[in-house]
């Protein structure tokens, strides 16, 4: 057949149906589509309040071709815990239970339930869809909003930095963690598959730019996501059984072979206040992330 190779790599079949309510150029939508391709039909998705509550569409139709439960905002990981235990009781042991939650539902209101499920070691894949603010309610800051970003509740730019959720989840000693980006769907696909092959609680942190929330034109979603990676603001990696590994292209960027951070920042209207000292602090945030990873890698190689 003459179909593109990547089509056969990730499969042609779609479980995410068009005619949904995501905004033009929605990054989360790219993520959802590829998540569903990777987890397949023998899966159950639990989703707390957020953009996906709307994306799922209007009853009695659903955008989702697999069983899907909307949950209370702070509850997705706990609902998933209940599902996995029930499936175990019912002898349906081959069904993948997956959470798809936004940054608000993960960093903030859903954090206790996430931490609880991770600590209990429930056999769940938790995918954090991070668009760095409460977008569905109209762009309010969350614990994931980066320093300097404008939101409707940080109208002169956020003064605080972004919570390092990956380190927090790493401290839960779960068997698999990864970051991913909607600009690298094959990497995301592989990580989802990898996570599903491991028993226990797995966590994937997906960055998905939001055109209306980040203030960039809708055709630039993938390019913004790519610039985040190429400038080193977003680092692709995975941590399997405690061992950290950088993934391409981030694996070539330890020694600062990165685009200037400004290349990423200047594409987005939300960073219009990110200048001067605030911008310098933002860059130091990026450097600190890389330094921490460097240290981890050095300790590992010892």
């Amino acid at each position: 057949m003459s179909k593109p190779r990547l089509v056969s790599t990730i499969g042609e079949k779609e479980y995410y149906y068009p005619g949904h309510a995501a905004c033009h150029g929605c990054g989360a939508s790219i993520g959802l589509r590829h998540l569903l391709k990777a987890i397949g039909p023998n899966a159950i998705l639990a989703v707390p309040a957020g953009c996906t509550s709307i994306i799922a569409g209007r009853a009695n139709l659903s955008t989702f071709g697999i069983p899907f439960i909307h949950t209370a905002f702070g509850s997705a990981a706990s609902v998933a815990s209940g599902i996995i235990e029930a499936l175990d009781r019912l002898g349906k042991k081959d069904v993948n239970v997956v959470v798809w939650a936004g940054d608000g539902g993960t960093f903030d209101i859903g954090f206790a339930s996430l931490s609880g499920a991770a600590e209990r070691g429930h056999n769940i894949l938790y995918v954090l869809d991070d668009n760095e603010a409460y977008m569905n309610t109209g762009i309010q800051r969350s614990g994931a909003t980066p320093r300097g970003a404008w939101t409707t509740t940080t109208i002169k730019g956020k003064k605080e930095g972004k919570k390092n959720i990956l380190d927090i989840m790493r401290a839960h000693n779960i068997p698999y963690l990864a970051t991913a980006s909607v600009a690298y769907p094959l990497d995301f696909h592989r990580k989802v598959k990898k996570a599903l092959s491991i028993k226990g609680f797995k966590f994937i942190h997906l960055m998905s730019p939001c055109p209306p929330g980040w203030r960039f034109d809708m055709h630039l979603t993938v390019e913004v996501a790519r610039k985040a990676v190429l400038s080193g603001v977003w680092i692709l990696m995975e941590i399997e059984n405690g061992l950290l590994r950088l993934n391409p292209p981030s694996n070539t960027m330890l020694e600062k072979r990165r685009l200037p951070v400004e290349e990423y920042v200047k594409m987005q209207g939300r960073f219009r206040f990110l200048k001067g000292e605030l911008l310098e602090e933002f860059k130091r945030d990026v450097e600190r992330n890389w330094e921490r990873i460097k240290k981890i890698l050095e300790e590992q190689s010892r």
Binding site: A56, R58, S62, P67, F68, I69, G74, S78, G82, A86
Partner: protein
């Protein structure tokens, strides 16, 4: 070992409940500790660890997550149980409504306890009454035997495919949860025969039939969903009575009556109360009857759906009703009173109704309190339009 023949054991209300849950062979128990509910969950954990109950205990990090996990488990088709009290109930509140609206047949025990601040672990009924509008079918037990019996019946009611509503069993913290009394338990095979096959619970989350639960509907469709829930609630009354009657045939204990009437037949005055204090009300009735007063007592065993027909029937030709509520709707009145008064109005019953609030924050309510109120009502000292607060034999 499992209970192979009927046995009478001296049990606390909490342990009686735990035995019923074990005998119901639940699949999943997500729970979080709170006084005075805790010993239910501890006992269930012990049953699981000792191999008496083949179930998953999910030791969640909060009550909000307890009900969330119960939602997940029940939606996937498992027989699911949890228990809580007071602040725990309030913390899981959002998900309690979620469970009802998603039509999930979860069974829960609500060991009633006051709400703070100030901190208070003693019983009043303020917590369970926050659920009266939620779509949970709510029972109130007045002793450990009822706690056991109603727990078994609850699974059967909740899982009826034409009802599919969560069922809660309330009883007073400490008065019932922690005091021991003889409880007759059914043999396991009797319970197995009484309850439906737990694998007949329709899973809403099933890869072979991929539904989405909870997508945004048109408002009019949403209205119909709510109306359908109302219909299930209303029509559940007949089924609840049927299950109660079936249970009566099995045990000789009468649950066909949703209102536990005591000496109401020729009464001109009827007390209304629920839970542990109903026992005091019945003692008061005996004492007043022995002096020639025509009084009776009705204990509502079912709070929601409200057993209106039976309440009317129990009122009969009584001239006055004295409602003793252990919970108050701030700015309105005793909650049992406000529940009852619209029945009186809608049915144009010619009866005086008195609104007495007692026992808040666990203040003890005894037979003398009922008798004092009765005497004062006869003496005409109350303005019927007022909500009266009686504490330790004194109006406050």
């Amino acid at each position: 070992m499992s209970i192979t023949s009927r046995v009478k054991k001296v049990l606390t209300g909490n342990h009686a409940t735990a035995y019923a849950v074990m005998q119901a062979r639940v699949d999943v128990i997500p729970a979080y500790p709170i006084t005075p509910q805790t010993t239910i969950v501890e006992k269930l954990d012990e049953f699981i660890e000792n191999g008496l109950l083949d179930a998953s205990m999910i030791r969640v990090e909060s009550e909000h997550s307890a009900m969330a996990a119960a939602i997940g488990a029940s939606a996937a088709g498992a027989r699911t149980y949890t228990a809580t009290s007071s602040h725990g109930l309030l913390y899981m509140y959002e998900n309690l409504w979620w469970a009802a609206n998603a039509r999930l047949p979860i069974v829960a025990t609500f060991v009633t306890r006051a709400i703070g601040p100030p901190w208070n672990i003693w019983s009043d009924h303020q917590d369970i009454f926050t659920l009266r509008d939620s779509g949970w079918i709510l029972f109130m037990a007045k002793n450990a035997q009822e706690a056991y019996d109603l727990t078994l019946q609850a699974f059967k009611i909740a899982e009826n495919p034409n009802i599919r509503l969560p069922v809660g069993i309330g009883y007073d913290g400490f008065y019932i949860s922690h005091t021991s009394e003889p409880v007759e338990m059914l043999a396991q095979d009797e319970v197995d025969a009484f309850l439906p096959d737990k694998r007949s619970i329709k899973p809403l989350l099933d890869p072979s039939n991929p539904y989405t639960i909870g997508n945004l509907p048109e408002a009019s469709f949403n209205f119909l969903i709510r109306k359908n829930m109302w219909g299930s609630m209303e029509s559940s009354i007949d089924y609840i009575k049927k299950v109660g009657y079936e249970y009566y045939l099995l045990t000789g204990r009468n649950y066909g009556d949703l209102v536990d009437k005591y000496r109401c037949e020729d009464a001109d005055t009827i007390f209304v109360s629920i839970g542990a204090m109903a026992n005091e009300g019945m003692v008061a009735v005996d004492r007043l009857r022995s002096k020639g007063h025509k009084v009776g007592h009705m204990a509502l065993r079912l709070l929601r759906p409200y057993p209106e027909d039976e309440v009317i029937d129990s009122i009969g030709n009584a001239e006055r009703i004295i409602v003793m509520s252990r919970a108050v709707s701030m700015g309105k009145g005793g909650i049992l009173f406000t529940d009852l008064i619209d029945v009186v109005y809608r049915n144009r019953l010619n009866v005086d109704v008195y609104d007495i609030v007692v026992g808040l924050a666990g203040v003890e309510v005894v037979d003398n309190d009922f008798i004092k109120v009765y005497n004062d009502v006869l003496d005409g000292i109350f303005d019927k339009r007022e909500t009266i607060f009686l504490m330790g034999g004194k109006y406050v």
